[in-house]
């Protein structure tokens, strides 16, 4: 499929999963991500895959646990309230070191909230959501093309590190239509000698489980997992840098907020203000090195978010509060306008000049 097609972000995720070799999808409908399930329902039967609308989000994530245990690539998707329901299962996946891809196409919350886009599940995605010491790899696409690209990357990382990759999108990128190319190099999924595929009487039993009866064995498991997390923090952090080299006012924004912020940065540059943008593509691991590098010229950071300010805490941590960090935000399903971000840049510039 070298020619471009016109797709919704949600459809691009579904097609990319299929291209990545995912033949098992379990879900339960919720706006604004239902197109993923609808697309899978049409496509999976034609390619010998399994689409199953589960009786609930909790059922779907436990079906993911089952397929992953058997060593196959598997995905589920939902939107904010549904991800809360799946969080127990995500914790069990982490406790059993199982690879999976989980999509969260965020909507405004808390509670049932609304159906408009949001980024207010940042804490839930990067700090856990479920119980216990664990992380997910969290990928934040900012275009329909990246919805496809990061979904494929999500499967690769999940298998490589035996972890859940979360695609943290939002209602806007899920719903918007853009041309997308599926010209990807797909690597073979790695061997999974740990999978519970039957011994054929030729090897010992494999066990997939998150229950540990002896506390110091469980502690050792946690230590091992955090060594792996340290390696991922070192190797897999990813960010887009935009006009950062001499930037005095540095915007931090991911996903749809970064698209809005880029317009504001361009407007500020046209006025002679040295503004730049860091767009984290991995939210966990957070691209701390890029922020530390920006401290060379930065006089102020502005975190632009569709939330009451969640990623801003990682900006504080990454910069060690060496320069002021402020928030420019909307919440509850609203999106900041380029003008609002531009005004925040101008205000920061005025203050920095004092």
């Amino acid at each position: 499929m070298a020619e471009k097609v016109l797709m919704k972000g949600n459809e691009a995720i579904a097609e990319a999963a299929i291209i990545a070799g995912c033949r098992h999808y379990f879900g339960y409908p919720i706006t604004p991500q239902t197109e993923i399930a609808a697309y899978m329902a049409k496509r999976m039967p034609k390619i010998g895959g399994t689409f199953l609308q589960a009786e609930s989000e909790i059922a779907a994530i436990n079906m993911v646990y089952g397929v992953s245990s058997a060593g196959k690539r598997v995905m589920t998707s939902s939107s904010s309230p549904g991800i809360s329901l799946k969080s127990e299962g995500i914790s069990y996946l982490a406790g059993a070191d199982l690879p999976a891809v989980v999509v969260n196409c965020q909507r405004g919350g808390p509670g049932l909230g609304g159906i408009q886009p949001s980024q207010s599940d940042y804490f839930q995605a990067t700090r856990g959501g479920g119980h216990g010491d664990y992380h997910m790899i969290v990928l934040a696409p900012a275009s329909v093309q990246e919805m496809a690209q990061l979904t494929i990357r999500g499967f690769e990382l999940a298998d490589q590190y035996r972890m859940t990759s979360m695609i943290l999108a939002d209602g806007t990128i899920g719903q918007m239509m853009e041309p997308v190319s599926f010209d990807f190099d797909i690597k073979e999924a790695p061997e999974k000698p740990w999978a519970t595929t039957g011994t054929q009487m030729k090897r010992e039993h494999n066990v997939v489980n998150s229950l540990y009866l002896v506390p110091d064995v469980l502690e050792e498991k946690n230590f091992e997992r955090y060594e792996k997390y340290a390696l991922i923090k070192e190797k897999e952090a990813l960010a887009e840098e935009y006009l950062l080299d001499d930037a005095e006012i540095v915007i931090a924004a991911f996903g749809i907020a970064a698209r809005v912020a880029k317009n504001a940065v361009n407007a500020a540059r046209a006025d002679g203000i040295k503004a730049g943008l860091i767009r984290p593509i991995t939210l966990w691991p957070f691209p701390e090195k890029t922020f530390k590098k920006a401290l060379g010229t930065a006089k102020q950071f502005i975190s632009v978010e569709l939330s009451m300010g969640q990623m801003i805490e990682d900006v504080y941590l990454a910069t060690g509060c060496a320069v002021p960090v402020t928030l420019c935000n909307r919440a509850g399903g609203m999106i900041p306008s380029p003008e609002q971000v531009y005004e925040a840049i101008k205000a920061a510039h005025g203050k920095a000049g004092e």
Partner: protein
């Protein structure tokens, strides 16, 4: 374009029906008095005709839409005024129907009256750049599903093939053999080709019956 009293726009999810509907209603309002655009989309809670409410009001086009469109109330509600489309024959109507067969079920309620009056067109809006309708065969599959759900037969094809902001005249030209194949296999006439205005200007003389589209404003 000679409009019948009722023009129904149906097609695959994301083929561009809403944009076409708004542009056709604005076109109709130039020489018709009582123009109505009806939004019967029960599938998609976003990108609705109500996004163009101001332009439509200025042109004197009446908008019939569920009061829940573009709100947080995500339910497949139909507007209570939908029966006026068939009851009041002094109206000229453009009807924007939801995508695929699921969207077309909404027509079931008024399909009998539309058939009885028999002054309507039902156009299949097609875009070969959508992933599930890349060829004529897959497009016809969806066409038959829609006809079964709507209890109405199509009368023509509108080629609306596009790649959004990346649409070039060549993009549209490359879709012509596809549109002609859909027309040949279905036995339905290709009534026009929709294209964004700048692209449409460059297609003059190359494709017959190009309908220039002003794109709806979107929030981001």
């Amino acid at each position: 374009m000679n409009y019948k009293r009722i023009t129904l726009l149906c097609g695959h999810y994301g083929s561009g029906k809403t944009n076409l509907a708004v542009n056709m209603a604005l076109d109709l309002s130039k020489d018709h008095e009582k123009v109505v655009i009806a939004d019967l989309d029960i599938v998609n809670p976003y990108f609705r005709t109500i996004d163009s409410a101001e332009d439509l009001r200025e042109a004197g086009v009446k908008l019939v839409v569920s009061s829940y469109a573009n709100s947080n109330v995500d339910i497949p509600a139909l507007p209570q005024e939908m029966y006026s489309l068939v009851d009041d024959r002094s109206l000229t109507c453009i009807v924007d129907v939801g995508g695929d067969d699921r969207g077309a079920y909404a027509l079931g309620r008024i399909a009998g009256a539309i058939r009885e009056e028999n002054d309507y067109d039902m156009f299949l809006v097609i875009n070969r750049y959508r992933p599930l309708t890349p060829d004529a065969e897959s497009t016809l599959e969806i066409m038959h599903e829609i006809e079964a759900a709507a209890s109405l037969k199509f009368t023509g094809i509108i080629n609306n093939s596009n790649l959004a902001a990346e649409t070039e005249p060549e993009t549209v030209l490359a879709s012509v053999p596809y549109a002609e194949e859909v027309s040949r296999l279905s036995g339905l006439p290709l009534v026009m080709t929709g294209a964004e205005k700048n692209v449409a200007d460059q297609l003059k003389g190359k494709i017959d019956n190009v309908f220039p589209l002003h794109l709806q404003k979107r929030p981001v």
